[in-house]
Subunit: 410 residues, 2 copies
């Protein structure tokens, strides 16, 4: 069982979305963001189209590129992903779809590929026509800039209110071969990708089939990107794409192959690290908050409870204020509709036991203040009803969230 | 049809919860709030128990006084309502219920009444034992202070982070008799009473039966208190009580009586005005925001959509920033799960048409900025799908919301 033991060693490596062999990327300024900032990212499989899968926002008001890319990914193959920042191409009517299709067509021409193998994606302000001429005019330059070290510039080009570029890659040994999975993500506000996700591209050189890409991506997203919330708002443009170049060599890996679990686990690791980066860099955030619910009747109930706590503005402002105001956690548990015994739940706030059996404990306020001064805060809940559990990542709600979203038409 | 035409004239009158004949009230300091502030309110029917009804929070972690008052109101009669601020008596375990029962027992002794006719209510910090000895020791003084002009002091005593006392009363002519309905409310944060409500006491001298009280109250609450959200958080202590003294005279009014509609309409008016006062005084608010959805498939869908917009932190911060960022309204409509045609909805933001058929319109930014500078902002949505409609009141999300809830263990 060499394969199984191999999976125990996930080694972090640099390179982000171009860490895996067989992928090139670039990030260039096209004038969509002010001041010459990078605003177009391109990720390209270096050869023919490769097996790919994607998940998209569940928002009913989906952006034009989401509509177009859903069609294009249906084949199970893709050659390139182009992402522009600075304009979401959402609520742009029929013209928005025409613009997204034109982007795919021009990019395909530039790469010598088919439009149906292009995945198009946009992020930025909603409801403003896409400056498509400016965008397509820049595509030849984006293609010329492609390189095997371009992941970092691509990760910067997709940022909007993000304060840090979000990249991660890991390497595993698989039946004597080195397999790499790497990715990038953007997202800082309008983040509650629940059942879909924000903008992210993940690549691997493992020889995954389309079905294996789909299975690995959906499994990974469910407990990573779909367990992140910054502000309970779900974007019109969320999308995650996984592309598998096969450049690591070896036989094709389908969902039933013995090697699948190891690769899927690496995809999960990359998605998880990127998702937590998104929560930590939530708009205005000073703290990463991890909400864990155990002992719920079902996993679904645990998830409902964890999101109710993570989305509560009162819980989030209390954490910003370093106040172990656990009564607000109890309030959130009670309002969410999960099964609960009001005389049975326990709450631990920043490592301090504050509530047992639904009633408050006397606790050391100084200790709590000190624990809440860290840049990571855990809220742990046990409902003592069953085996259901969930973990959700969020951040605190701060003056800067209000400033960023009061000032900036994003 | 004198009765019907009478209902057209609702005249506002002073006096709040003691505007109606047959009620006395008081507000006194008992030491639960700091600095000698008023913190106990008493509203008493001046005679035997009167027909009454109440609705309570749907939060599963209900406070002890909610548990006790639910039992007491089951008879359909009540004699007095006592409300303390400064401590919610929630998450206080079995002792909390003992404390709420002791409060009812001592008050009943003081008034020469039955404990089962006492409605007890608390608001303030969750999870701290109720200082019940301090509370019951003050009850004789609260009873001595009762007066027919005591409504104003009672309204002040129930305030927590409220910046204004919330009272309203109206008078109608009904078959030659003058009938008054008046009330008070508190609430500023942890406000999304959906299907229940925050703390409010409404009185009338109309001779309503218990069933009529219940019918009038539930109908009124559904489109008033239950259509308010400040921060999407539902309190553990929400409660509205309606008491009917019958002091206006005349035959008993049941739900089928010809006079019922006029009284119910007056109850609705008082509840509506108090509910809007709560939204306008939301923690840190600078603006009252009214979200109206028309053209939804069903009323339930309209309500879902209106709350999604009203609860969206991105919409609320944009309004604080006077930014007609209507794309966030489209996002909220799309995420909420209501039936929607992404190519058919219209949005008017602060009176400015910004989106038609799901796509943005060119609009006058100066005009929008000017309209958004008012202290009341309307967001109007038409989904063009059916006849469903709803209206929800909320406020903007500001620096002061973060300050108040980051600093204050409420």
């Amino acid at each position: 069982m060499t394969d199984t033991s191999d999976t125990h060693t996930l080694v972090s490596v640099p390179g982000g979305v171009t860490a895996a062999a067989g992928f090139l990327a670039s990030g260039i300024p096209a004038g969509l963001k002010p001041a010459g900032a990078l605003d177009i990212a391109l990720v390209v499989a270096d050869g023919p189209p490769v097996p790919a899968a994607a998940v998209f926002t569940t928002n009913s008001v989906a952006a034009a590129p989401v509509l177009v890319s859903r069609r294009h990914i249906a084949s199970g193959f893709a050659r390139a992903v182009v992402i522009n920042a600075g304009n979401a191409n959402a609520c742009t009517g029929a013209q928005g779809v025409v613009d997204a299709e034109q982007t795919a067509r021009v990019l395909a021409d530039v790469l010598g590929a088919e439009p149906g193998d292009m995945i198009v994606s946009s992020t930025g302000v909603i409801g403003v026509p896409l400056p498509v001429e400016m965008l397509v005019a820049a595509l030849p330059r984006a293609a010329e800039s492609l390189s095997a070290g371009g992941g970092d510039r691509a990760a910067h080009a997709i940022m909007t209110t993000d304060t840090v570029a979000k990249q991660h890659a890991v390497r595993i040994q698989l039946a004597g071969r080195t397999v790499t999975v790497g990715g990038m993500a953007k997202g800082s506000g309008m983040i509650k990708p629940n059942m879909a996700t924000m903008l992210s591209v993940i690549t691997t050189d493992a020889p995954l089939t389309s079905a294996a890409c789909d299975a690995a991506l959906r499994t990974a997203v469910d407990t990573t990107f779909n367990c992140v919330t910054v502000d309970s708002d779900t974007s019109t443009n969320d999308m995650v794409v996984l592309l598998a170049s096969g450049a690591a060599g070896g036989a094709a890996i389908g969902p039933q192959s013995p090697e699948f679990a190891a690769v899927a686990s690496a995809v999960h690791e990359v998605a998880g690290v990127l998702a937590i980066m998104v929560a930590r860099d939530g708009e205005g955030a000073t703290k990463l908050v991890t909400v864990t619910v155990n002992g719920a009747s079902t996993d679904a109930d645990a998830r409902l409870a964890a999101f109710a706590v993570a989305d509560s503005p009162l819980v989030k402002t209390a954490i910003f204020g370093r106040d172990a105001n656990w009564g607000r956690v109890a309030m959130a548990l009670g309002k969410c509709g999960c099964a609960i015994d009001a005389d049975a739940f326990d709450i631990t706030f920043a490592g301090v036991e504050v509530c047992r059996g639904g009633a408050g404990l006397t606790f050391d306020e100084e200790l709590a203040l000190s624990a809440l001064s860290a840049d990571e805060v855990a809220v742990d809940i046990d409902l003592h009803l069953g085996a259901g559990r969930a973990r959700v990542w969020t951040c605190d709600l701060t003056y800067d969230y209000v400033r960023i979203n009061g000032e900036y038409r994003s």
